[in-house]
Symmetry: C2
Subunit: 219 residues, 2 copies
Amino acid sequence: MKIRVAKKILEANDRIALLNRERFKKAGVFVVNIMSAPGAGKTSLLEKTISRINGKLRAGVIEGDIVGTEDAERLEKLGIPVVQINTQGACHLDANMISEVLDDLPLNDLDMLFIENVGNLVCPAEFNVGEDIKVMLLSITEGDDKPSKYPLMFKESSALILNKIDLAPYLDVNIERIKRDSLKINPELKIFEVSCKKEEGIDDWVSWVIDLRDKGMKR
Amino acid sequence: MKIRVAKKILEANDRIALLNRERFKKAGVFVVNIMSAPGAGKTSLLEKTISRINGKLRAGVIEGDIVGTEDAERLEKLGIPVVQINTQGACHLDANMISEVLDDLPLNDLDMLFIENVGNLVCPAEFNVGEDIKVMLLSITEGDDKPSKYPLMFKESSALILNKIDLAPYLDVNIERIKRDSLKINPELKIFEVSCKKEEGIDDWVSWVIDLRDKGMKR
């Protein structure tokens, strides 16, 4: 087998991310950038998360999709401010896209802002948007080889949420391998096992992220 | 809800794709570009497909991954020529990457070349590499909203292979919706339902692609 290496030039967007960051800090809003492959359950996780946060903290969402508003419509039903970004072909959100929609959100009235990135395990991890933390969602149906194949997202994330854990009995997936390989890439990674469908494990994740926000706001 | 539109500039790579195309044609090799989200089962499909083709037709594989050689190693066990491209961060294969590895394959001795693209539902569909057909694999665990959210890949593909069909009883997924919405985007799309794990539906797909090759080679 021959192995060949291709090159990629990445656009720097860190300057704009820093400006977003300052704006979030000034507004007192804690920002969570949620990333996963298509269909891992980002919107379901946000539905479950926000319904638990509502009444305690004020949440908002920036929803990223190539086209359409299906997920934004689901989240708007929770009675929170939602802005849809349609990337028109771009496979990730970048700091500039986020910057351009911030005036459309009541930032000063929010405690937490969730950014649902475009479904993709590659490029979203390369683009900081000014978030406090990145969180990765992995459906266990995607297999146990994802940490070794898409290491950057595991490295960049503060938490890994393993979703669809209710399907484990029907899959040949080694969940311990996922955990072990993820922690090899990122020993600080906090790992949660959840089933959005069966409403399992959500509370642990929600407590963790609220706690992290509380600590972050005190700094 | 406010809807905002971001812009993306795509690099043209069609000139190089055309050169690849001419080279494939001259060598008499039929080229299938296989695309899907991460973990939908591209490598499993190739294992099942090539083991059925072996002995009748000579197959080769170009394997695209961000990093690593795990899938290429699995396919090399079938006794066929395999070249691994590591894209080092790029979320798709492009015509130039393919062009650069063609000398590493015995093109004139192959009947079919399978290109396993990087796991991503977005950019791989935007980059022609000189293939005869694009084929899309969708795991039904990804949900029934994928045609409306990632329409380009459905539009560009000649066939849609719905994989992990054995998990249907455990999912809230409307397979008829996937089919209906896919055909709305691309009425010519040939749809197969398969389970690589249970070895179901593979023969239909393999017959179809061999038949398409035979017809293509006569032109």
